[in-house]
């Protein structure tokens, strides 16, 4: 076997794959500095008369900043509420023995496999009855329910929270709520962060639910808003392009920053999820 030949092959494959993964993001960065009128006539992968027009227009004259804010509030709340509720339920399922415990675990395990996108319509009908349509809560509450989260937390709690520590604190007279707050939560912190990111990302990415639940342009989430610009058709291609490209760039930068800063937690979560299936 020829070693340098192998090396060349490996390098070629790496370059092609690297380009595949990175070029779209590079294209986005470059294109966000071009006007729509030049984007298809200039080198798509290099700058040509860079201008901040798209960003300025999108931030000052469109609803894009509102969509961004809606997405941040809804994804953040869903992540925090979802992770907390899942931590409580998981802790309870892992650390208490009671009748019906196995039944609840089975119910959660089955629900893990129910695709939430298949129940967007009944969720909308329910929300109409509860007056949740066109509200933040209408997105936050359904997004916060994570069967995977509760399952994940129960396993994590089982494996990390030492029973002796709980027992000792009980003997010292600590209340059950105190046990959860001062002992369980600190142990569950890594799982909490992991779950927060997952629910945050899933909510940020969700398109079908907001499509049903949020019906006023000012309430849209970011991807939904950007899609609506496309769907409503082109009357002012320059301006529509500005909103889409600037909004996409901002969203990508935010999510990538979030992922990079919390990368360790993501990996831990992926691993555990897979091992337990």
């Amino acid at each position: 076997m020829n070693k340098s030949f192998n090396y060349v092959i490996t390098l070629t494959v790496l370059i092609i794959l690297g380009a595949y993964f990175l070029v779209p993001l590079w294209w986005l960065a470059v294109s966000s500095t071009k006007l729509y009128s030049t984007v298809f006539s200039t080198n798509p992968l290099w700058f040509a008369k860079p201008t901040p027009f798209n960003y300025i227009y999108a931030f000052e004259h469109s609803e894009m900043p509102l969509w961004l804010l809606n997405s941040l509030i809804e994804s953040g709340s869903a992540g925090a509420i979802g992770a907390l509720f899942a931590a409580m339920a998981g802790y309870s399922l892992a650390k208490y023995r009671f009748k019906g415990r196995n039944f609840l675990i089975t119910v959660i395990a089955v629900a893990l496999m129910i695709p939430s996108t298949a129940i967007a319509f009944p969720t909308f009908v329910l929300e109409q009855k509860l007056d949740l349509v066109n509200t933040y809560l209408g997105v936050i509450l359904p997004s916060a329910v994570s069967a995977f989260g509760a399952y994940f937390m129960s396993i994590y709690a089982q494996e990390t929270i030492p029973q002796e520590v709980l027992d000792a604190a009980r003997i010292d007279g600590a209340s059950e709520l105190r046990l959860f707050r001062s002992i369980a939560l600190p142990y569950l912190k890594p799982a909490f962060v992991t779950l927060f990111i997952f629910i945050f990302a899933a909510t940020w990415n969700n398109y079908l639910l907001p499509l049903f639940v949020l019906r006023e342009a000012s309430l849209y989430m970011l991807p939904q808003g950007l899609a609506s610009v496309l769907i409503n058709g082109s009357t002012f291609p320059n301006l529509e392009y500005a909103i889409q490209i600037a909004g996409s760039a901002v969203s990508v930068v935010l999510m990538v920053a979030l992922f990079l800063s919390l990368e360790k937690y993501i990996e831990a979560g992926l691993g555990l999820g897979a091992v337990r299936g």
């Binding site: 993964f21 798509p44 339920a89 802790y91 208490y96 329910v145 509760a150």
Partner: protein, 284 residues
């Protein structure tokens, strides 16, 4: 506050309240709706009980089966492609822990940080004449009108492989990281080559992760919505392109709420069956 011996209930309530409301109730509601066929003017969707006839209609619905056929073909293309790519990348990055490994991991994982709607919008621009992909296809002498109906499946393939390969690679990397070092050492003492290490230790240890990824992928394919829905604004994508797109169309545009519930319930059942088969294989 001491909630005493029933405190476990207190911890369960918030999660299960939302769980009941936003998972159990919608699923049961969908199931119940599927047994009726309310006329458009009816005050309630639960009028005109028709038994299982909506399900018989699903069985004979060419658009529904067309969606499954489409997705079956799509899965046959993309599942092996994605598995091979992510195994290769994971093995490569695993053998280069340290700077290159970390950098590579970040690079492959980046696309997962792009919301699928936005990713599809971006690729859509790159597919149009003057865009990168279009120009590259012209350069390679391939059909360049990748947004044309007959190629749209491949356009979606390019987008979805881009979105998910990195995510799955990171799962596999976690799997490779969990292989005990003693196993490698023992094999090396016995004189195993790196190919043998891969073939007889790494790949078998990855099996459960590969099954996990495959199950999620197969379930995910019938539920594809964001990509085909966005693409349908750039090209002519049939409304039955994926089963989930069909459900949306039936509900939102045709307002066939009872029938769309039957179709949605079939999707839920198929998901459950695929998952259960996967778990069985996983354990067996």
């Amino acid at each position: 506050m001491n909630v005493g011996r029933y405190s476990y209930i207190f911890f369960l309530i918030p999660f299960f309240a939302l769980f009941m409301m936003f998972i159990i109730v919608p699923v049961v509601y969908t199931f119940r709706l599927s047994f009726f066929n309310a006329p458009p003017s009816a005050a309630s969707l639960f009028t005109n009980y028709v038994g299982f006839s909506q399900y018989l209609r699903v069985l004979g619905d060419g658009v529904f089966w067309g969606g499954y056929e489409n997705m079956l073909y799509f899965t046959l293309l993309w599942l092996p492609l994605m598995l091979v790519l992510s195994i290769l990348i994971a093995l490569f990055l695993d053998s280069r822990r340290g700077k290159i490994g970390t950098l590579g991991k970040v690079v492959v994982f980046l696309p997962y940080g792009v919301p699928t709607v936005i990713g599809t919008l971006m690729w859509g621009y790159m597919f149009t004449p003057g865009g990168v992909v279009h120009d590259l296809l012209v350069f390679l002498g391939l059909p360049s009108n990748i947004l044309a109906p007959q190629y749209i499946l491949y356009a979606m393939l390019l987008i979805i492989v881009w979105e998910w390969t990195g995510y799955n690679t990171v799962i596999l990397l976690a799997g490779l990281g969990s292989i005990p070092a003693t196993l490698y050492e023992a094999a090396k003492i016995d004189g195993a080559t790196s190919w043998q290490l891969t073939r007889f230790i790494k790949l078998p240890m990855l099996r459960r992760y590969l099954v996990f990824i495959s199950v999620l992928t197969i379930i995910g394919d019938q539920l594809l919505f964001n990509e085909p829905f966005i693409l349908s604004n750039l090209s002519s994508v049939s409304f039955g392109f994926t089963p989930n797109l069909y459900v949306y169309h039936l509900t939102y545009f045709l307002e066939e709420f009872n029938y769309s519930s039957a179709v949605a319930f079939v999707l839920i059942l198929v998901s459950l069956v695929v998952a259960i088969l996967g778990i069985r294989y996983f354990r067996g």
